[in-house]
Each structure stands twice: as structure tokens, then as C-alpha cells.
Symmetry: C2
Subunit: 703 residues, 2 copies
């Protein structure tokens, strides 16, 4: 029986094997409670280790949805809570594993990793979560995690808040499950022009966490703009990036001592590209800083290059790794084996000559080297040969000197292999020292890749650099939906909002583009705050602290709750969470219930957002009664999307224009559809009666 | 070069190969115009050939949707009409082929098939369509179509009219594309307990075409009831049916002379089961008629049985088909070959004895039979042997008598194969005469299979026999949705309608089961009129001439038209087409446009259906204003679906109760969802104001 030691457990959240990993970041998460929620996240493949504290369950869910961990550890107090557990599993159908959340165990794991407990872990729930996540990763990896070099506590309020519903509605990562949308029809699909895996992961991270302070946003925009303006530079940079390997994960394997020869070889080839890249960036003042942050790793590349052959094998224990001339002892061993092999080759010719037998020198695993003679020559075999195998019509012989040479070759080869492996380990060890620098380089390159990708998108799709308004003005001229416009034939639209004109009531028929208009506004804000150019001819924006959307797709069912219940829960979240610096997008609030209570709720919500919250609100509705609001609320305006019936049927202009929509639109469609004249006449009479009353109703209700 | 004649073209609508066909009927359709639309349908695999004349484009589409042809021929006047062509291809994405629609060509195809033009083809558009479909099939099959034995013109008004939208909405064949429904979650999936392919096709056909006359429906119900009552009989019948092959398609291949030996064998095995089946059916007075319609085919089965071996091979030209003792000449040939083989077997033993050589008799394709001798015995070989092959250590010899025997065997075998093939052709020819009877038997068996399947469903699921009311009363006690109830936990509901109470206004929240209630009513009517038992405790029904549904699923997009446009088109069709004998189901008419014009249209439509059309109407709506209608319209009633908010959240009771729904439902959900108290208070005030006004508005508008 062979005793094998388990050195690594495979779990979805702690993978490091490149072949098993998705190109996205692969997080293991842990969640614990105690004066809020502590959430710790660890990507074992790159060593990224971070965490934050949240004070509401919904913000924890939103954060988890942004990070999408592959595996989650829940603290016992959460596991025992059946209601929580059920909700959690419904919303995050990922693997749940058991972690050790006792504070003592956590401290031990942290000390084992870092020597001391790192800063940022003062909050007890976060400490327990961080300890659990680290301890779990240590146990699956069979010990310490050299790639994990520190913990970062981040402040969720330093980023724009995006709810799970908003990310879904805006189709940032995933297409809507309804309809025939494909992966490319997402924001990530359109914007994801990165050339490296770390760049792609970083772009996904930025989209999860748009910034809220102007300084860092402007710095990013400067870098993007430099690459927009200089197409030749951008092309050159992207060409180089394309040839650089996933240094982030490579650094992780390097630090963990798991890198193989091909990893080192790929590292060297990647590092050798850096001087050229730095040279390119030095020419641009906006990118100079980036260039200067790239650590000099030429020596590491050189070291690998001189040690390893060009085409390294996958296995590191079977030789063929190390260049001739790198190690004298290895060279000597190789020479010895070579000389013995040459002697054998000479032997065949010499013995043929000497004995006149057309013999062959052969080798097999059982008997080693031998001389083979066919039946007609049996008589001529010299007496110092010894028969070791007899076949049907041939015999195999050996000689004492043959045995000796054989031993010599095998010995030299085995020694050479050992020597090579030792040399490789030494190399890996020494290169491993540079893992933190490689990780640093990877981070800078990822950033550069995102700048170049955003610049490429801006140039390809005709985006403009957004400006930010300290007075809170919003002005978008000819704004477009970045994803929908890719389909062609898109009609751009303007939008103006300000603290004084902050509630826009949008009416008009279905299919005319109301919800696209809402979505593009949110996407432009989001793009601007990650530091991207935006799809518009001009964009002046406030810095939003949150973006909320309540845009219903269809009568879908979310985990057994009625659509209307979901709608109301989302509305409640918005009314509670939005501020005067938030962007709120509401579509068809109050559908799914009867007319009057739906209308009352929509009306009260609009008033609340206008009067109390004072958020920037786009409110699309079928409740025509709401078009009376601008008369009553100083900051409200009516707009509508245009549609007209023409000879061939309905034409949607997808244009957003001031004023309320025409009320008789429905009747005109019904006429086109062939509803009998008699019914239409009656409907028109009823409509006239209702309209005559509505003003009074609105008036009286409001008074 | 081998010259091959194309004997059959493969096109989706003219397949006959069992392996290529779906189990469903496989129609080729042709459509021509001229005083209405002529539609001809041909199933080449069974020989079914039928057609009808329609006077509206939408009824043609509905019919095509019911038959779902695999391939369609359009007359040139339709192909040239770009608008028509585009609409057609959008709604029926099937293969379009070119047919010959000239009247002269059609007459020629019909005369070639039937000798004269069959009756029922007096209408010129139908004549052209029938001629085109037949001519096309003839050309793909390379000549006449013996399986096609006549043309049936049917009267579309003899069946309940079901629109394409209705079949889709009711999920009769296909699950809705939205949500996670699977194939089994269709009416066909629940009801399709048939045991034979023709039975399954017939059930699909019945579901396409429910009957409108009571006599034939009662006859079907009698047969079903007999099988419901006698479970032992049902089980026995279904066991036998399960063992019967697809005689309908087999009859088609038989008539076309394409049956192979396995087909004949399967036919015999199937026919041999019929006497037992007839014996079973004779015991039941309701099924006696069915038994008596089964033609006696015992003689055919016997003929096949005596001719063919038990396990016939697939190829009919390579022998091994025909039983020993069937044909004296064949027996003689087989005996000759056998005798020669026996001589050869004896030869080996005899010659070993005689020569003392351990020889073997062998055979290969190149040199035929030979005697094989190994090297040590070369010297002992008799002189009359002649060497014909030398191998390394053995030689092969022949003798004159060996050659002769060989020729004898080969000749006898080849003759036997020819004789077998001739006997098979003779058999196929003679059995082919019985093709019309086999088809007849297939039709009767299919009917029996459907009765048994409906009876099995009724027994398994607890259905009841429906009764029909001459006075037009509808009373369903504890009705259920046949598909939804399979999921368990279903709440049954009653329904009463009559000419005096014909408009039911149904209010209540989403998710509470309004549209299930509407759908189950339509399904019960449909089931009753195909002659099935229905999912209820008691069901008294009028005989409906049409069932209309306008039940929107979601904001889906149908071929670029807006949802609202589609909704209005369907409404227009209903208002134009429905009669006092129709069942009309409307859900949320007027959604997708602004409140007042949607409400006006819904209101006017409800009035029109009540006053003018006088149909049986279930009208589900969110427009609470419509609950005022019963006060004004003598035949209108209010009902609602119950939902209540309880501690754990909302509870839907799925119960339909008299009276309008509670108006404040929406506010109560909003409260549960966490909408701020302040907003709720304002909404309640607004609602009270609106409600106070609405009575007056309705009153004033109506006056």
C-alpha cells in the first residue's frame, strides 16, 4: 500500500489550478454577525484578501451579488437561523461550507499567516469572518498561503451603491433571462475590450464599485483620454498587453511555491515585454505615473531566461528543463551520458566489422542493452558474449562491458535529472522572492489594460469624456444606451435635471423606448463614475451616491413572491435608502394591483421622492393622472416618448419630448387593430367623460 | 459509371421513412386563393388527404397552426405578395416549396392518382391547392401514391373554432416559452396516455378539432365511460394496444409497395392480437360497435405467418426470410445446398481417414473451397489433388469434385435467394391488396386507443363525465386546471353562467389564480367537446361554437408589434367573431396603454360583449371601475379571487368568490413590503379621495 498525503483539497472557492478556474476572480467569502455584518473575501488564486462591515442585510446581499463568490462560509448564528438560510440559498445558490468562526481560531489563523493580526480587523464580526475565511483556505491548501500578503478593509461608502436589482436590470454582467439576449448584449460584453485576464477582472471590479470622489475619477479619465487621443499608442499598448500572461495568478502560484517551469517561462516572456511598454508610456504625461509604478523586473526575467530552455516541458522532475551552460555539474553529467551512448553506437559498427555478423544493439526495459543476432549467425557468435534471451529465430547477448556502460548511462541520466530538478527548485525559490513585485506589476498592468479597453471603446463607439457638476446639474446631450445602440438604428435623446428640476414624469406607449431611456441614464452615470467615457455628445453629471432602478421586466416570479410584492419591496428599499444625491429610476410602479391603490401608491411615492428625498428621479408611468403632478410640485416636469400612427401601422420615434403623452393613443391603436367602429365610438365617449372628470378628481384629492 | 435513377426525393413534407418521421402526423400543405382560401393537406406517410375552404386569413392561419405542416406550397399569387409572404414566414417558419398551381396541372395529377377528379373539389382554390399538393408529392415519390386513396373535403364549421392564440395560451401542445415549464406541462402531456402512435396522432387531431354536435360527442363519451367503469377491461385493452405497431403508416408503406419483411412481420404480429381485442370489446355494449368496425384480417396475418420466419432480417434480397415448408421449390434448393455442404463436411473426415493427413476443409472468397495441408504432410498428398495456394508452412489443394460441389452450393444458394425474394414480393403484393383494410383497422384502433387514454386519464385524475345543457346553462362544480393540478395543492373552483348571467367581472391581485381560473374553464369546455371526461366534480355545459382567449403572458414582443397592438388585434378578432354560443376569456384588456384609454376600451368591449355579442364572458381586470358594470348590465356579475395578508406574508387562497375584490389590497402589500409609513398614509388619503369620486365618475360617464 502506498501512503499518500493529501496536500490540497479542491473546493470551488479555493482553487488555484489555472485549468479549473474561470477567468473571473474566484472568491471565497465568509459572513458573520455582531453589531452589523462582517464580510470577508479571499481570492486564493491571486492572494487578494479584503473585507468590510455592513449595517443592513440588503447591502450585504448587494455586495455578495457584486462579488459573486464561488463558495461561502456562514457563521453558526446565521446557519441556525432557518429563515435567513433559506433566503440566502434562494438568492445565492452557491456552495455553503462550514468554517471555524470562533474568535480564538480566527486569531490563530491570522497570526499563523501574518505573524500578527493585521490592522482593519478591529470590528468583531469582520475579525471572525476574516479568520474563518483564512483558516478554511489554509486547511484546504494544506498550510500557509504565501500568496496572501495582507488584509485590506474597504469602506463600502467610498463607492457608488448599486443594488443587486440594479445590476440585473442594467444587464451589467448577465443578459436578462427574458427574450433572446446573449452574453454580448451586456455592458461587460460591449465594454470588455481588455486584453488580459487581470484587466478583465479589474474592469468587472470597477463596474461593481464606481467611485464617488471626483479626484480619482478624473485621474482615471485623464489616463483614458490620453489613450483615446493617441490611437497609435493605444494600439501598440494593447498589442503588448495581449502577449502578457495572467501575472496576477502567476504571482499567486509563485508565492505559494506551486509554479511549474512553464509558469516561469511565461513569466520571463511577459516581463521581457515591460521595458518596451514603459518606453511607450513615457511619451504620455498622463500615463507616465503608471509607467513609473511598474517595478523593474528585468533581472528576474534574465535569471529565468538563462536557466530555462526555450520550450520547457510540463513535468519538472524528468529533466530537459535547464539550458546547457547554466550549471557546470549538470553539463558534466550530460556529457558523461552522451559519451556512453556514443560508445554504444560505435560498438554496433565495430562488432559488425569484427565478427562479420549483421548484429544490432537494442534496448529494452527488462534486460537492458543487448546485441541481437539472427539464427543463421548463431555459430559465429564470439565466446565472451553471454546469451540472455532466445526468440523464435534470433538470440540476444550481452557482454560485461555492455552492462557497465549501461549502468553508466542510467546513473548519469538520473543524476542529471536530480540536478536539474534541484536547479529548478533553486530558480523557483529565488524567483518566488519577487512574487510581491510581480503582483505589483500585475496590478499596474491590469489598470493599464482597463484604461486601454475603455479608450478603445470610447474611440470605437464615439463616447465623450463626462464632466461633473458641483452644483448638481445633469445635462446629457444625445445620450445613447451603450448596449442597445450596438444593434444599430438607435435614436439618441437629451436629458436635463437639477436640484430645481428633479422629478421627470415620463408617459407614452409601451415599446416606444421609455425603459431604454431610463436604463441609458443609469448606465451613463455608472460609466462616468468608473472613469469611462460615456455614450453621448456631451455629459455633465452630478456625482451620484446611489443608483436605484425599479424597472419591471415582466410578470416573472421571483422565488414565489408575487411580482407586485417584489416591486413593493424594491420601492420600499428606494424610499428608505435614496438621498438627495441619488439617481432613482422607476418604471410602471403600481402595476400588478388594481387601478386606484396602484395609482395612490405611485402618486405618494412620487411626492415623497420629490418633497422629502429630493433625489434625481425619472418616473415612467401609465397613470395619466400623474401628469398633473408638475402643476403641484415645483421640481416636477412632464415628458413623453413620441409615437404616431402612420399608414403602415404604428411608428415609434423613440424620441423624448416635453409635455405629457397624448391620451387617445390607445384608441388609435385599437382602431388600427380593427376593433369595431361601434366599440371605438363608445370608448371615445367614455374617455371624454373620464377626462372631463379627472382634472376635478386630481384637484379635489390634492386639495 | 453506374447510372442511378432517383426514385425518391426527400423533403420534410413528403417523408415516408419511419426513421426520419416524428411520431406526429406529417403534413404537406398547399394554399391557393380565389373566392376564399383553398387549403389542401396530405400526409404521405399515411395517405390521409383532405382540404377545406376558408373565408378569412386568420382562420387559415389558425388551421395551419392546428395542423402544423412540415412543408408548405404557396400559390404564385401568394408568393408574389410580399406582405403576405413576410407575415407567413414569420408565423410559420417552415420550409416553403414551389408547387404547380395551374388548374390543368392539378387536374392531371388528380386524374393520374384517382382516374377521375374526386368529389369535394368543386371550389377552384381548393382544386388548385389539392392538385398542387398531390402533384408535388407524386414528383418527390417518383410516381403514383398508392397509399392515397381518396380526398376528403371537411367543413371547418363542423368543429369548435380555436384560434392559434387560444391553443398557445392554453398550452395544449407546447409549453409557454416563459418560465420553467416543460413538455409534460401541457394538456397533451397530461392527457396523452395513448399506447400507439396512431392513437396519439388522433388525440392531437381531436384536440385541434373539438366537435360541436351533441350526438357524436355523446357517442365518444359512452365509449370512454365504458372504459372508465371497467378498469380490468381498460387495462387489458391498453396492454394489447401497446403491442400493436403503427398500422397507419404501415398501411401507407404497404400500399406504396415499400414495406419490408420486418414491416410484414410486425403487421402479422399486430393483426394476430385483434381477435383477443374483439373478444374483450364484445363484452361492452358501448364498445361493441367499435369491435364490429374492426375488419377481419386473420387471413392476412396467417398468410404472412406461414410465409415468413420468426426473426426476419432487414434486407429482403439476401435470403433467410421464408419459412421451410412454405414453398416446395425453395425447400428443394435449400436441400440441394445443404446436401452439398454435408458432402464437404464428410469429405474432411473421410480424407483424413484415407490419407492419414490431419487436413482441414476451408473456404475463402478468392479460391473457394480447399483442402489445407501443413508442411510435414506435403509428401503424403494424393496425386489427384492440385495445389492452388502455398503459404509459409502450409499448402492448399483442390480436387475436381470439390470445385463441382462448390458450384453446386453457390448455385443452389443463389437460386434460393432469388426464389425467396420472389416469394416475398408475391407475399407483399398479396398483402398489399389488404392495405385499405389495414388502414381501416388502424383508424378503429386509434379511436379505441384514444378512448382508453381518455378513460385512463379520467380514472387516474378523477374526472367526471360532462353533461350538455340545451338551455345554455353552464355549471362547473369544483373545476380544476388539468395541467396545473398535476403539481399538487390545487384549489378547485365553481363557475355558473347562463344566457341571463353571461358576463363575469373578475378582480383580485396578481398571482392569486385569475388566469388559471380562466384557462381551466376553457380547457374543461375543450375537453368536453372532444368527448373527454373533465376535471371537475360536476360539469354542465353549453355546446360552444368558439373559444376565445386574450390572456397576456408578459411584455413579450411578437414579431416587432407592440404587446398592446397584439392585444388590440386579438380583441378586434374576438369582437368581430364571437357569437352568443362562444366562450370568451379576457385577462387585463387595456394594459400597456395609459389608464384612461385602456379603461375606456375595456369598458366598451365589456359592454359590447354583454349587449351585442351576448357571449359567455369571463373578464379579469385590474380596472376597479369595471366592478360598477353589474349595476348597469343585467347579465353581469362581480367575482374576485381571495388573498389575505397574514403574519408570514401574503396568502393566496386561490378561491373565486362573489363580489368585487378589496380595493386596499395594494396598500396592504406595500405595508408588508416595508414602504415607509408616511408614504402609506398619503397613499391611503389619495385612495380615499379617488374612491369617493369614482362612483360619481362612473355614474356620470354612464349617464
Amino acid at each position: 500500500l502506498v501512503r499518500r498525503e493529501v496536500t490540497q483539497l479542491l473546493t470551488p472557492g479555493t482553487l488555484t489550478q489555472e485549468t479549473l478556474l474561470r477567468p473571473e476572480a474566484n472568491y471565497l467569502a465568509a459572513l458573520a454577525t455582531g453589531d452589523g455584518y462582517g464580510l470577508a473575501l479571499l481570492d486564493v488564486s491571486t492572494g487578494e484578501f479584503r473585507g468590510a462591515v455592513f449595517y443592513g442585510k440588503s447591502s450585504v446581499y448587494d455586495e455578495l451579488f457584486r462579488y459573486r463568490p464561488a463558495e461561502v462560509l456562514l457563521a453558526p448564528e446565521l446557519c441556525r437561523n432557518e429563515g435567513f438560510l433559506e433566503e440566502f440559498q434562494r438568492r445565492f445558490p452557491v456552495m455553503l461550507s462550514a468554517g471555524r468562526f470562533e474568535e480564538e481560531a480566527g486569531l490563530q489563523a491570522l497570526r499563523a499567516q501574518f505573524g500578527a493580526v493585521p490592522g482593519g480587523l478591529e470590528h468583531p464580526a469582520l475579525l471572525r469572518a476574516a479568520g474563518a475565511v483564512l483558516g478554511y483556505a489554509q486547511s484546504t491548501q494544506g498550510g500557509a498561503l504565501p500568496q496572501v500578503q495582507g488584509f485590506v478593509r474597504y469602506d463600502p461608502s467610498a463607492f457608488m451603491q448599486l443594488s443587486e436589482a440594479t445590476l440585473r436590470t442594467l444587464e451589467v454582467y448577465d443578459p436578462s433571462p427574458v427574450g433572446e439576449s446573449s452574453e454580448e448584449r451586456t455592458l461587460m460584453g460591449v465594454l470588455g475590450l481588455t486584453r488580459t485576464a487581470p484587466g478583465r477582472r479589474l474592469l468587472r471590479a470597477w463596474l461593481r464599485h464606481p467611485l464617488v470622489e471626483e479626484g480619482p475619477i478624473q485621474a482615471r479619465l485623464d489616463a483614458v483620454e490620453a489613450l483615446v487621443r493617441d490611437g497609435v499608442l493605444r494600439e501598440a499598448v494593447r498589442k503588448i498587453l495581449y502577449r502578457i500572461h495572467d501575472l496576477e495568478r502567476l504571482a499567486g502560484r509563485l508565492a505559494a511555491g506551486r509554479a511549474n517551469a512553464r509558469d516561469l517561462s511565461a513569466l520571463a516572456r511577459s516581463l521581457e515585454l515591460l521595458p518596451e511598454l514603459v518606453g511607450l508610456l513615457r511619451g504620455s504625461s498622463a500615463l507616465l505615473g503608471t509607467a513609473e509604478r511598474l517595478p523593474d523586473l528585468a533581472e528576474v526575467a534574465e535569471r529565468i531566461h538563462t536557466a530555462l530552455v526555450e520550450e520547457v516541458p510540463l513535468k519538472v522532475t524528468e529533466g530537459g528543463l535547464i539550458r546547457d551552460g547554466f550549471d557546470p555539474e549538470l553539463d558534466a553529467l550530460r556529457q558523461r551520458a552522451e559519451a556512453a551512448r556514443a560508445w554504444l553506437a560505435g560498438l554496433e559498427a565495430a562488432e559488425r566489422e569484427r565478427s562479420g555478423i549483421p548484429l544490432k544493439v537494442g534496448y529494452n526495459q527488462v534486460i537492458g542493452y543487448y546485441l541481437e543476432v539472427t539464427r543463421p549467425y548463431y555459430a559465429q557468435v564470439p565466446s565472451d558474449w553471454r546469451a540472455i534471451a532466445t526468440l523464435k529465430d534470433r538470440q540476444r547477448y550481452t557482454r560485461p562491458d555492455l552492462r557497465e556502460k549501461e549502468r553508466e548511462i542510467l546513473l548519469a541520466e538520473s543524476e542529471a535529472r536530480k540536478r536539474e530538478y534541484a536547479a529548478f527548485l533553486e530558480l523557483r525559490e529565488s524567483v518566488g522572492q519577487a512574487a510581491p513585485l510581480v503582483r505589483e506589476a500585475a496590478a499596474v498592468l491590469a489598470e493599464l489594460d482597463v484604461y486601454a479597453a475603455l479608450a478603445e471603446a470610447a474611440a470605437q463607439y464615439g463616447y465623450v469624456r463626462p464632466r461633473f457638476s458641483a452644483e448638481g446639474r445633469l445635462y446629457i446631450r444625445a445620450g445613447r444606451h451603450p448596449v442597445v445602440e450596438r444593434g444599430g438604428g438607435f435614436i439618441p435623446n437629451d436629458l436635463e435635471l437639477s436640484p430645481g428640476e428633479r422629478l421627470l414624469i415620463l408617459t407614452g406607449p409601451n415599446m416606444a423606448g421609455k425603459s431604454t431611456y431610463l436604463r441609458q441614464t443609469a448606465l451613463i452615470a455608472l460609466l462616468a463614475q468608473i472613469g469611462s467615457f460615456v455614450p453621448a455628445e456631451e455629459a455633465l453629471l452630478p456625482l451620484f451616491d446611489r443608483v436605484y432602478t425599479r424597472i419591471g421586466a415582466s410578470d416573472d416570479i421571483a422565488g414565489g413572491r408575487s411580482t407586485f410584492m417584489v416591486e413593493m419591496e424594491e420601492l420600499a428599499q428606494i424610499l428608505q435608502g435614496a438621498t438627495g444625491r441619488s439617481l432613482v429610476l422607476l418604471d410602471e410602479i403600481g402595476r400588478g394591483t388594481s387601478t386606484y391603490d396602484g395609482l395612490s401608491l405611485a402618486w405618494a411615492a412620487a411626492e415623497h421622492l420629490h418633497d422629502k428625498v429630493r433625489s434625481y428621479t425619472l418616473f415612467a408611468t401609465h397613470y395619466f393622472e400623474l401628469t398633473a403632478l408638475p402643476e403641484r410640485l415645483s421640481g416636477a416636469r412632464n415628458f413623453h416618448v413620441a409615437a404616431r400612427e402612420e399608414a403602415g401601422g404604428l411608428v415609434f420615434y423613440h424620441q423624448v419630448l416635453p409635455g405629457p403623452a397624448s391620451r387617445s393613443y390607445g384608441l388609435e391603436v385599437a382602431k388600427l387593430a380593427g376593433v369595431p367602429r361601434e366599440v371605438l365610438g363608445r370608448a371615445a365617449t367614455l374617455l371624454a367623460g373620464l377626462e372631463a372628470q379627472v382634472g376635478d378628481v386630481g384637484q379635489e384629492v390634492l386639495d
